[in-house]
């Protein structure tokens, strides 16, 4: 629902535009409100810029293609005035975001459950009845967390993450590692989150969120391809991410060293796989060329015969 608020302010193409690689729109500033809470939870918080907590103010500290952010900020002003009728809806979504953000603090103790959300709503000063109105309750909490982490990742990248000296496979490793580290505080309850995401009702949303995440990582790494390769790359990275995430669940090593080693190996495999697919493709083309030539010859013969016949009938 917080995404739909963003969509309304920034136009329909918000989520789809990410996948189509349009210039990154800034999300609704109200989503940033729990930002400072979320960043406190994230272990790797180096280089974060603090955002002022303000409901309707645009965050000036975000380092971003400034043209894009200031133009959307200017657009948001007049648009907010004329859509004052829709304000109640936005208010509900703000409240929901606030409650969910507060609930995250209770998750390590109470799990991804209604109890955590009830505790969160009590903290915010709202009647816990509001939890009853969240669609697919626990899933709302998990999805909120996933979106928050994606946003954090984007912000980390925007605020100058150094990727220049790394080869693509190392870049991918680093980004996946950053993202997975955000889940460390919730690791004890993460299996529950995964099972909630796997529930058939919730699969469409969780799939979409993972797709967005994977797309973001590839985009940051510097991939601009838009052919069939695009799907292959994202699927492969999706697989790498999921397997690493699950490995992490049972990893006891200090600071998850084993997980990062596992991740590096998988990413290397993926890139090697890519190379092997390329080689297989060239091989197939070479063979195909041979077969294709003879097929071409056949087609040419057929065309000539037909044109001769057509020509003669004209007379």
């Amino acid at each position: 629902m917080y995404r739909t608020a963003a969509k309304r302010f920034l136009g329909v193409g918000f989520t789809t535009s990410r996948l189509l690689r349009l210039p990154k729109p800034r999300p609704n500033p109200t989503i940033i409100t729990p930002y400072s809470h979320a960043s406190a939870l994230c272990t790797s918080s180096i280089g974060h810029t603090e955002s002022p907590i303000g409901n309707q103010s645009v965050n000036p500290n975000q380092s971003d293609p400034t043209a894009a952010s200031s133009s959307t900020a200017r657009e948001e002003g007049p648009r907010r005035d004329e859509s004052s009728r829709k304000k109640p809806r936005a208010e509900f979504e703000e409240e929901q975001a606030r409650v969910l953000a507060a609930s995250l603090r209770h998750v390590p103790r109470l799990g991804w459950t209604e109890e955590a959300m009830i505790a969160g709503s009590r903290e915010v000063g709202v009647s816990p009845s509001i939890v009853g109105s969240f669609s697919r309750k626990e899933a709302a909490l998990v999805e909120y967390f996933m979106d928050e982490c994606l946003q954090l990742l984007i912000d980390r990248v925007d605020s100058g993450l150094d990727l220049q000296n790394l080869i693509p496979s190392e870049r991918v490793s680093k980004l996946v590692r950053i993202r997975l580290e955000m889940q460390i505080p919730y690791m004890s309850k993460w299996p529950q989150a995964l099972s909630i995401q796997a529930h058939p009702v919730n699969v469409p949303t969780s799939f979409k969120q993972r797709a967005m995440l994977v797309d973001e990582i590839w985009h940051t790494v510097g991939d601009g391809a838009s052919d069939l390769d695009w799907y292959v790359k994202r699927t492969v990275l999706g697989g790498v991410y999921s397997t690493t995430e699950i490995y992490m669940l049972t990893d006891d090593s200090p600071e998850y060293r084993d997980t990062w080693a596992f991740l590096d190996d998988r990413v290397k495999d993926a890139f090697d796989l890519k190379k092997s697919i390329q080689e297989a493709k060239y091989f197939a083309q070479d063979i195909g060329a041979g077969v294709g030539k003879s097929f071409q010859g056949l087609m040419n013969g057929v065309m000539q015969t037909m044109s001769r016949r057509g020509g003669s009938s004209a007379f």
Partner: protein, 314 residues
């Protein structure tokens, strides 16, 4: 004036012999005889032509003060057979509808809930059960705050209905339970404090209220911030063929069932007429939004025979 004084005298006769079917039927029959000749002409006039001090009692136009009394009589009359009639008329479906209502509410331990016009306690018992099973499950993760007691208030304007409810509570062994509180009161003028309730439900009751806006305003007043308003009500069906089947069932079958089982045709005639006079789903949703509620939504059950409207106070 002449008519109302006659109606008054017959009603006073009724109130002295409270609860007897014959007296109620007499009263209603006398009123309907007087208004009967006007019913046809009134039926053709739309709600828009209603002048400010008249309201609808089924398809009849009555003075506002009268509606309260007439409704009171209807429910005094039907109280004892209310539950049986519900089962027969809806084929047992009303239980599912109430389950759905309570499911949507998602009751939690420590909740302060108000069920208005819930005389016989159907919704209240379900909420009580839901909270106590939740409490048992969550016992190992109990938050200090939720150790406050759950309070479910059942408010009804009709003492007869409340008595049936108290009886049923006693049968379930909840007679002395502090969580269930039976209160006599009017939906348009609740005796509860502002911002005191986490939840407010009204199941099959808002149709009978004289001023719906007042009831909605009261609901808004007593709810806390974040509190939910849920209304289960018989509503309008728009599906072509099904609508006709439903109309046939309503006007032909239900009053006859009322006569057979509860011995009271007029009350059930009133019931089906009041359903038709109630605003349709969208209009009612607008009324709820006008009272100040947010995130107003409605869900049709059985193609619109029943609708659950929900909203939040923010």
């Amino acid at each position: 004036m002449h008519l109302t004084s006659r109606a008054d005298s017959s009603l006073s006769l009724v109130s002295s012999s409270q609860g007897t079917n014959f007296a109620e039927a007499m009263a209603l029959r006398s009123i309907s005889r007087r208004f009967g000749s006007r019913v046809l002409s009134y039926r053709s006039s739309s709600v828009a032509s209603l002048h400010s001090h008249a309201t609808s009692f089924g398809f009849q136009q009555v003075k506002e003060e009268e509606k309260r009394k007439l409704v009171g009589n209807v429910f005094s009359n039907v109280a004892s057979s209310y539950d049986i009639m519900n089962d027969v008329m809806s084929g047992g479906l009303h239980r599912l509808w109430k389950e759905r209502l309570v499911g949507k509410l998602s009751p939690f331990a420590g909740m302060k809930h108000l069920d208005v016009a819930g005389g016989t306690g159907d919704v209240a018992f379900r909420i009580f059960d839901a909270v106590n099973s939740v409490k048992r499950r969550a016992l190992r993760k109990v938050d200090e705050d939720s150790l406050e007691e759950t309070q479910i208030y059942v408010c009804d304007i009709n003492p007869n209905m409340l008595n049936v409810g108290k009886q049923r509570a006693a049968e379930r062994g909840l007679g002395d339970n502090k969580s269930l509180v039976w209160v006599e009161g009017d939906a348009e003028a609740l005796s509860f404090d502002d911002n005191s309730m986490d939840g407010y439900t009204i199941a099959f009751g808002i149709r009978n209220v004289t001023h719906i806006e007042k009831a909605l305003a009261e609901a808004y007043r007593v709810l806390k911030r974040g509190g939910r308003f849920l209304c289960l009500e018989l509503s309008h069906v728009d599906i072509p063929v099904f609508k006709d089947v439903y109309d046939l069932y309503s006007f032909k079958v239900i009053p006859n069932l009322g006569e057979l089982i509860a011995g009271d045709r007029e009350s059930y005639q009133y019931l089906v007429e009041s359903i038709r006079r109630f605003p349709p789903q969208e209009k009612f949703a607008t009324m709820i939004a006008d009272a100040g509620f947010e995130k107003v939504e409605y869900e049709n059950l059985v193609g619109g025979v029943v609708a659950i409207h929900s909203a939040i106070k923010l």
